[in-house]
Symmetry: C2
Subunit: 435 residues, 2 copies
């Protein structure tokens, strides 16, 4: 029997993570199922950013590089990200954008392969990977005369032929919410002699990640999705210690700026990479966005005493299970399909529904009712082998601030939008949104 | 006869730009001569950033990418930077860091040269250029098998031999304040068949720049110095329209992210560069730091009705002339030299004094007295052919908020620190500052 609204309220009342929601300023009348795109505002952020603007910048001025610890922010924030992704302190820096960090680690990985295994001239990725990852890979392959081999999700291990230098994957797919088995795929890459580079954009803060346990080689991720760092928050980068310190002169990443120098204030004309992950820094970082990111990280770390990522994961699966169950029970005749795997081990923290007609308008009608998800085109040109030509309605469930009643209400709104054909109204069918 | 404090007050009273100072929150008791490192806080910034945090992010959430114009910020801010550097609307984007933007334009310039003039295999720069520029150039030369040829300032045109692909220079030298003649050096580069790439970090907002007048090829610059964008504010990048749209598939810059795609929301697996300068965008930008940068740009644009960059330049030269004159008159026997050119055409908006002993401690003693400048090591390893082993005391004069009385008072404090040997105190001789 399907759960009722009262059942969902009871689940919220029993939820040990329920109070974590109080860390956020949630707009009234909104059920926000887009934390996979932009996390919500923590209560501490406005005051912390104001302090950075008014006191640290306004009063401290240049002195705040020392006195307010600005210069160490990439490492300090990196140390807060590390436990969320199975990395050790000192192994992660928060900096730049995900795309740029991916360029750094792919460059390093390809350089390592060029030294260690020069006959390997192929970079493998998934055709339905987030496109910016593919653009960065395409640019680097062009630059270095390598071949970019894009495959469907089921064909990844078969593609790990002896000419493959690097396998680059996004852990949780942005369109379908499907999650790769990081340990086994990394092991397959290593067994085939390739390096494994992981993009954690849709997994850091959403699902438990154990980079060391998986023996991954490099990873990057995003600060503004499940880490609640704010719009365009700086991203992060990790390199396994077995790679981070490699001394071969041809193996450092090429975005060689002064923040990655062994002695940044010596101002020597020659580049000497800093030890460890610090060499993955480049130029001066946007401090106001960095301090906001720290507030976001603290909201995730607050789950630590309550069981941390494992507890968040348990709730996330309960939320996405409930959403799937309610959609299938209450919107059964509305032409919705499921793009997200039912199997827990293969699911991230989002649920993607498919629909042949009107997906965009349905999302707009839901937004007008205060249920914010988003739309992703299923145009086959977009490269999804999984969904064909159907479009996608994407709903992210951030267990820090989404509850079971929210899920019930979201499905009820979806049911009403579909049963009343409200989505056919002209105002929901104008494609002007960029998100 | 040297000007008196009263004379300086009279100059301030007559200064047509005097009221521009009211745009800023200047800390009490501070004379801030470090705007060349981090500009001061505009009065509008705190409220604007708070609005972006609380309203746009907190309430608008993902919708603000459209409704608050976040997605267009790189272009909108670029259009505000354009008139300050002699570029046209649509030719500049604000994004990423200066180092990363330099990597983009150097990559593009070297790729162009590889197509148009493949026998040119040398990148020329100045040994005393800001080191991060040299690190980026070094990394790219290593990557592409080119030679990086570093020369002294006087040897630049002689170095423009037929094997030179690109000349990369910083317009105003960070250590000495010396300014290159951009039009004549660019013309010399072009006459020699090379492209000219300019770093405007210490000139945008400080001195008039006319990229089109000089027929420059590419330029980058910094948002947090004279543009008052806040700590680590996003930087900017410009490409001459004759280059920006080149369609050769091997000529786009390699940091190919989704913000630089022709159709960023089509999510196609293949990269197609956007038209014009937009292809120099890569990943999602730090919005909180972007909105702060816009407030900073507005403070410089406010000088427009009062004569704009020409009026700011006139005042800047009057300030630096006065500083030099007062130091030479009032600190004549204190062992100070002048690293900055006396000739106006060769001077930026800063004055750098040299000193064999105690430069670091003198700067610390001045900071303790509220006069904030900074120290730069003159270690010959740092590559300055101009200053030998003497150290540098660096003072930046931002005409938007520095007045003539400030100059007089700063020199008076310097005189007292030197004449009383106050700088010999142990607390001023501990080298723990990172700036």
């Amino acid at each position: 029997m399907t759960l009722s609204l009262q059942d969902c309220r009871a689940l919220d009342a029993q939820d040990p993570l329920r109070d974590l929601r109080d860390q956020f300023k949630l707009p009234a009348g909104v059920i926000y199922l887009d934390g996979n795109s932009l996390g919500v505002l923590p209560r501490t952020t406005a005051a912390r950013v104001a302090q950075a603007v008014t006191d640290e910048w306004g009063e401290g001025l240049i002195r705040s590089w020392n006195s307010a610890g600005w210069f160490d922010l990439p490492q300090r924030l990196g140390d807060k990200i590390a436990p969320l992704i199975g990395a050790a302190p000192g192994e992660v820096v928060a900096t730049d954008s995900t795309s740029i960090n991916l360029y750094k680690v792919l460059s390093a990985a390809l350089s390592m392969a060029a030294v260690d295994a020069p006959t390997r001239r192929v970079l493998v990725s998934e055709r339905s990977n987030f496109p910016t990852d593919l653009y960065v890979a395409e640019a680097l392959c062009r630059e270095r005369g390598l071949r970019l081999h894009l495959v469907e999700p089921g064909d990844i291990t078969a593609a790990l032929t002896p000419d493959v230098a690097v396998l680059m994957l996004t852990h949780v797919n942005y369109r379908t919410g499907a999650m790769h088995d990081m340990p086994s795929i990394t092991a397959a890459a290593h067994a085939a002699g390739a390096l494994a580079v992981w993009d954690l954009a849709h997994s850091a803060g959403a699902v438990p990640v154990d980079l060391h346990g998986a023996q991954a080689d490099f990873a990057v991720g995003c600060g503004y999705k499940y880490l609640n760092g704010g719009p365009g928050a700086p991203a992060f980068v990790w390199a396994h210690p077995r790679h981070a310190d490699r001394k071969d002169p041809d193996i450092w990443q090429p975005l060689a700026g002064w923040w990655g120098h062994a002695a940044p204030f010596a101002f020597t004309p020659d580049y000497r990479p800093a030890a460890g992950i610090t060499r993955y820094l480049c130029g001066t970082q946007p401090i106001l966005s960095m301090v906001a990111l720290e507030c976001g990280l603290d909201t995730v770390l607050a789950a630590g005493p309550l069981g941390g990522m494992q507890a968040l994961r348990k709730k996330s699966l309960a939320l996405t299970d409930l959403f799937i169950e309610l959609v299938e029970a209450r919107c059964a005749r509305e032409g919705l399909g499921l793009a997200t795997p039912r199997e827990h081990a293969a699911r991230g923290s989002q649920v993607c529904l498919t629909r042949v007609e009107g997906a965009y308008a349905i999302v707009q009608a839901l937004i007008a009712r205060g249920v914010i998800g988003d739309f992703r085109s299923g145009d086959p040109q977009a490269g999804s082998g999984r969904t064909g030509s159907v479009d996608i309605l994407r709903f992210g469930f951030t267990p820090l601030y989404i509850g079971f009643e929210d899920v019930w209400n979201a499905v009820e709104q979806l049911r009403q939008v579909l049963e009343t054909a409200e989505w056919r109204r002209p105002e929901f069918n104008r494609k002007n949104a960029v998100t």
